[in-house]
Symmetry: C2
Amino acid sequence: MDNKETYELTRFNVISSRIRLARNIEGLPFPNCKSASVNRGKFLAFMKGAENAAKGLFDYNFFFMKNLNATEKLAMVERHLISPALQNNSATGAVILEKTEGMSVMLNEEDHVREQCVQEGFNLPLAYKRVSRYDDRLMDELPVAYDDRLGFLTACPTNLGTGMRASTMLFLPALKLAGAIETALSKFVNDYGLTVRGVYGEGSSALGDMYQLSNTRTLGETEENIIEIMERATVEMCLHESRAREKLAHKSGAELYDKVCRSYGVLLNAYMLTSAELMTLISDVKLGVILNILPLKDTKPLDKLLVLCSAANLTLATKGCAPAQRDIVRAQLVKGILKETK
Amino acid sequence: MDNKETYELTRFNVISSRIRLARNIEGLPFPNCKSASVNRGKFLAFMKGAENAAKGLFDYNFFFMKNLNATEKLAMVERHLISPALQNNSATGAVILEKTEGMSVMLNEEDHVREQCVQEGFNLPLAYKRVSRYDDRLMDELPVAYDDRLGFLTACPTNLGTGMRASTMLFLPALKLAGAIETALSKFVNDYGLTVRGVYGEGSSALGDMYQLSNTRTLGETEENIIEIMERATVEMCLHESRAREKLAHKSGAELYDKVCRSYGVLLNAYMLTSAELMTLISDVKLGVILNILPLKDTKPLDKLLVLCSAANLTLATKGCAPAQRDIVRAQLVKGILKETK
């Protein structure tokens, strides 16, 4: 499969690619280790060093969790910039957030430092390149805990070694509709040693037919190796989806066409939309874009719409309007963006 | 209430006004009386006389039921031009049908002659005027059975006297939504001695929130009297509906607005539409027009759409396309007309 074929196969189904590295600082107890006494000087040096590594590399804001309100934190979780675990660490949690939101460095999550880079579409190597640049500078700034045999030391043994998690966010509506998603996904877990989660990380369900595929093995593999396996698995998953889509279009063309058109009509006309319904409708419409049914050419504005319209982000955008009004504002926002996109 | 007020109150809720007169010919057994022997000469004279009465009065086509196929007959029933009873009389049934479809004279239904005139909107007097002109000419042509005590003689005693049925077709979505339709209608049956049916006559259910209000008493009342009672009752029913609509808009404004907008979106975008779903959606959209929610100013094109898209009429219009295709054609037709109407 050449680059063009891969691009065509993955362009609408791989929403984003993410690399995350877990790092810890020598001589500092892990953030969750409540019993150990923390040397204040060392702790401050760690926080300063982590920030220094970002200086000059990318434009950022530095946020302490304790200085953000609940809505602001939840909005960051909805935008996949911080994890629910960091959101809950009001004592020491912090994030160095690139203004364009590609890079984010969480401090005092499960590990001292969790560096992540998210790239739109299918591009794990670029995400890795960007995160590595920060990682190199971090290691210049701070004594990162590393063991010759175990590799990078992490709070949880499942992250030992490379400390790396590579993941792709996949949109798999046809496999879901065909009822084949469970089989397809469990095959991956077994064959590649990968894991699959809902879009908001572990334990969350697959909203909007989106699934996050990521590696589980971090030990005894090189970073390049992990990326290669993830790329192969992602392409294969998109192939499965593409075949399921063909079957679906062949088997229930008219019904599918009708469903997609109706969902588009409801999105364009509804006066109120809940967040959950929006997920379902956008999923139908995205499938419609892929199948060339609708007067829209790209799914990206729809993915952005999902984030923009998620509960906390909408609350922020509308400066805290009443919950009863939120569904109305969401529907207006959707209409506006869809009309622009056409 | 002055004319302008009455017009405003009734314009969207009274879809049409209908007057029907039942007449029979002296010396001929009633059509349903199978045992009696029919004098062929008298029968032919009756058929000829009924047609003569129409000649020069309105442009018409003369159809024998036996010469129409099942779809053509059903299409006439759907357009309210003939009754299901006439549709089933393939032996002697016939209809004299005005080309513009306002006047229709059924021959050998339950009675020898059933003259009817349907007018768009709320206009019983005009319907009566038109049907009377035919009736006068029929009496010049033929010996119509009349008794000084009982009035016009009819096959069924419920039609004795004037032989007249006056009816208005009402659109009552708010009363239906408010769950108040049963109470409101049964009050009318009692107070005014009227009856209420679904749009396709006796025994049919109320599709699309449409109800046919008509008089039951034909004996001991003058024609003018019946029309006056029907007019009073129709206006009162529209007042009930108007109040129910205000309450509904006040109580569940946003939900109602949302429902109407969604139905409009589905109508504009669906790839397939069944006849039953179309009824429901059109009903929502008509309510939206009345409430000034939608970019449509009139409900008449929507009422025409209902007739145009009913099963048999659609089959005729599409020259007998496969039933599987019919829902697709219906949706396309709807889209086209709605876009024109905007």
